[in-house]
Point group: C2
Chain length 426, copies 2
C-alpha cells in the first residue's frame, strides 16, 4: 500500500472541507451589513487584548521550538508576541473597522440608448487563501482585511508560528461566533504539512484568490503549482533619478530617506541615478553622508571617479534588491538614459524623479510604468497606509487585478447591474 | 538522442523569441498617442478590405483541408471567409478606432494630509497572449482591441484556420509597418504544435495575461499549465426568475427572447424559475409558445403537473449549459428559493428577475453575485457591446481582474502616481 497516496488523499479531503466551509461562509458574509462586520472586528480586537496572556503563553511554545531549531535574531524576533504587539494587533483591527466598507459601492452607472441603466457594483471576491511566513500579526491583519471586504479567508502561516497562529485563530473565531459573522469566515489551517498547501492551490472551485506573502522562492513555488489565481509580489528594485534641474537639498533629503529610513523593505531605494551635469556637485557630499550612516556604495565608473574608495558596481548590482545598507549609484546622460536604465534593470515597483522641470515631471510620470511613479517624494511612500488606502494586504508587482499596494478595494471585484423596463435583444 | 527533448528546446526558444519581441514592442506601444494607434487601426481596416481576395484565397486552403478532414456544418462555416465577412472584420476595426483610448486616463486622484497628491493612472497590461479556436475573425478583433489598449499581442488560433490567420496577420503587420506602431505589436504564432502553446504558458517574465477563448476543455488545460495569469470563461448557466409581481406580458417577452433569440451563446437562459403563485397562469401559454418555437422543456414536478407531456428534469439538468433549444423549468416558493437555486446550481454568469416590486428588485440586485444581475431585461444583454463597453474580448467568469464582459478598460491596469514637494517618511 502506498502511504504517499493515502496521505495525499486525506489532504485533498481536508482541503476540500476547508474550501466548502469557506465558500458557504462567503455567501453569507457577502450580504452582511457594514455594522455587523464592524461589530465583529471590534469584538475581535477586544478579545485579543483580553486573551493576551493566553496568546503569549502559546507563542512561548513556538519560541521554544524555534530556539531549539537554532533560529535567532530577526527571524526569532518576528515570531515573538509581547503584550504591546498584541495591543498593536488589536489597534490594527479597530483601524480596519473604521475604514469605509467597499462592498456594494456603485462604482459607476450609465444609460444605454435603449433605456437600460447599467452600472458596476463592488462585491467580495469570495474566498481568499493567504500563505505566509512565520509572522503571527499577519494572521489577525489578513483576517480583518478579508472580513471587512466580505471575503472568507483560509490562513496558512509558517509552521514556526503554528501555536501562535492557532491561538489567534481560536480567539478571532470565538469572537465572530458571538456576532452575525459565520463560523467559517476565518479558518486557520491546522496541518503544518506542505501537502495541504499544494491541495489548497488546486481548489479553483472553492478558492477565488491566493495571496502568498514571503520570500521569492515561496511565491514562485505557489505560482508554479496553483490553479487558483495568484497575486504575487516579487522583488522591489526601486530607483530615484535626480534630474539636472533638481533642487539639491530636497534631492539629498529624499535620497537619504529612501535608502536609510528602513532599508529592509521592498520600497527602499536600491539604485540612485544622477544626471551627469550635477553629479560632481551632488554626489560627493551625499556619499559622505551615506558613509556616515553606514551605507556601502557601489558605483559606475563616473561615480568611482568622483569619490575615492568606492567599490565598482557590476552588472548584477543593477538588478539586486539589497534590502540592506548598500546602494548602487550610476551617473546618466539625461532622463532618457535614466528611464532606459529603469526599464532594463528595474522591477516595476517604485521609481521617483527629483526635478523642478514641469515637462520632465510629466513625462516621467507618463513614461515609467511601475506600480508607483513619483515626483519629488521618497520611494518609501509606496505603501497602502501612506497612499491613503487605509491598510494593505500586500503590494502586487503583477499587473493583473491589482498593481501596487492592495487595500480593501483590491479585495473586491465588480459585477454589472442592469435595470430594465422589459428590454429584449432584437 | 531524444527527439522530444530537442523539439521542446526549440519550442522554448521560439516562444521566448516571441515573448521578447512582444515585450519590446509593448514598451513602445505604451507611450504611443491615441492618434498613432487609431491611424494604424484605420490602415489595418483598409488593407483587410483591399486584400480581401488574398485572404479568401488563403482561407480556401483551410477549407479544403477541413473538408478533407471531414469537418462540416457549423464548424466549417466558422472557418470560412467571404468578402462580406472580411468587410465586417474591417468594420470592427474602425469601430475600435472610434472608441475612447483608456490609456493614461486618470481614474481618480486624492490628497494626503502631508500634501502628497496621489492618483491612479491607467496603463496597458503589457503583453497579452490569446489562445483561441478556429475563428479567423478573432485574429483581427483581438489584435485591434489589444493595440487600442496599448498592449502587444501574441495570437495563437486553432490550426484549422492556420492559413487564414497567417494571412490576416501578414496584412495587419504590413499595415502597422507603415505607421508608428512597432513591428512586433501583433504576432501570429506560426507553429501549429501544441508544445509551443505550453511554452507560451511558462513565460511569466514576458507575457502578462493569457486569455483562452474556446471550449471548457481548452480553458481547463490552459489554467492547469499556465504560470502566466489566465482570465477564464467557463460556462454560462443563466437564470430568469419570474416573480409573483411580474408583469406577465413582459415576463413572457423576456423569457422567449432569453432562450430563443440565440440559444447557442453563453448568455442565453438555460433555467427558468417561476413563482408558484403565478405558475398556473404563466407557464402553460409560455410553454405552448416555446413548443411552437421548437424548444424542448424539462420541468420540475410542478411544471410537469401543469402542462402534459413534459419531460421531467433530473439533477443534471439544473447545471447544464444546453446551448440549444432546451430549457429547464422549475416552480419555486418565492425569491429566496429562486436565489438558493441560483447559488446551488448556477455558474455566476447572468441572472435576471422579472418583477414590479421595488424592494425585491433591489434585494435581487444586491444578493445575487453573478457577473451581470438584471431587473426586467433579457439575459442576452450580458455582452460588451450591449452594455456599452464598445467591444469585448471575452466574458470573464472568474472574479480576478475582470468579472463579466471585458472591454478596452479591462485590458489595462492602473499605476499609482504621486506628486510631492520633497516629502519623506518620518
Amino acid at each position: 500500500m502506498n502511504i504517499d497516496k493515502l496521505a495525499s488523499a486525506s489532504f485533498t479531503e481536508e482541503a476540500i472541507q476547508l474550501g466548502k466551509q469557506a465558500k458557504a461562509a462567503a455567501r453569507r458574509l457577502a450580504v452582511l451589513s457594514s455594522e455587523d462586520k464592524n461589530q465583529a472586528l471590534q469584538l475581535m480586537a477586544d478579545r485579543l487584548e483580553a486573551q493576551s496572556a493566553f496568546l503569549i503563553d502559546e507563542n512561548q511554545n513556538d519560541l521554544n521550538a524555534a530556539k531549539k531549531a537554532g533560529i535567532t535574531g530577526a527571524v526569532l524576533d518576528r515570531i515573538a508576541l509581547t503584550s504591546s504587539r498584541v495591543q498593536s494587533m488589536a489597534k490594527g483591527l479597530r483601524e480596519i473597522a473604521a475604514l469605509p466598507d467597499p462592498v456594494r459601492e456603485i462604482v459607476k452607472m450609465w444609460r444605454r440608448p435603449n433605456g437600460l441603466q447599467v452600472g458596476k457594483m463592488r462585491i467580495p471576491l469570495g474566498v481568499i487563501g493567504i500563505i505566509y511566513e512565520a509572522r503571527p500579526n499577519v494572521t489577525a491583519d489578513a483576517a480583518a482585511l478579508c472580513l471587512k471586504s466580505g471575503n472568507a479567508v483560509i490562513l496558512r502561516g509558517g509552521s514556526e508560528a503554528h501555536h501562535s497562529n492557532q491561538a489567534i485563530g481560536k480567539v478571532l473565531q470565538a469572537a465572530c461566533g458571538e456576532t452575525a459573522v459565520p463560523q467559517h469566515a476565518i479558518q486557520v489551517v491546522q496541518s503544518t504539512d506542505r501537502a495541504l498547501v499544494h491541495e489548497m492551490l488546486q481548489l479553483e472551485s472553492y478558492i477565488d484568490l491566493i495571496i502568498p506573502r514571503g520570500g521569492e522562492e515561496l511565491i514562485r513555488a505557489v505560482v508554479a503549482n496553483s490553479k487558483v489565481p495568484v497575486i504575487k509580489h516579487y522583488k522591489g528594485v526601486c530607483h530615484v533619478y535626480v534630474d539636472i534641474d533638481a533642487e539639491l537639498d530636497m534631492a539629498e533629503r529624499i535620497c537619504l530617506n529612501a535608502k536609510i529610513q528602513r532599508p529592509s523593505v521592498c520600497n527602499a531605494m536600491e539604485t540612485l541615478l544622477v544626471h551627469e551635469a550635477i553629479a560632481s556637485e551632488f554626489l560627493p557630499p551625499l556619499i559622505a553622508k551615506y558613509r556616515d550612516a553606514g551605507v556601502e556604495i557601489r558605483g559606475c565608473d563616473k561615480t568611482c571617479a568622483l569619490v575615492p574608495g568606492i567599490k565598482k558596481a557590476n552588472e548584477e548590482d543593477w538588478t539586486t534588491e539589497y534590502l540592506d545598507l548598500i546602494l548602487a549609484v550610476r551617473v546618466v546622460k539625461d532622463m532618457d538614459q535614466a528611464i532606459a536604465h529603469i526599464e532594463q534593470y528595474g522591477s516595476e515597483h517604485t521609481e521617483s524623479i527629483i526635478t523642478t522641470d514641469y515637462r520632465r515631471s510629466k513625462q516621467f510620470i507618463e513614461r515609467v510604468n511601475s506600480s508607483a511613479v513619483m515626483v519629488n517624494a521618497s520611494t518609501r511612500f509606496n505603501d497602502g497606509g501612506e497612499l491613503g488606502l487605509g491598510a494593505e494586504i500586500g503590494i502586487s508587482t503583477s499587473k493583473i487585478h491589482a498593481f501596487g499596494p492592495m487595500g480593501l478595494e483590491e479585495l473586491t471585484t465588480t459585477k454589472f447591474i442592469v435595470f430594465g423596463d422589459g428590454q429584449i435583444r432584437e
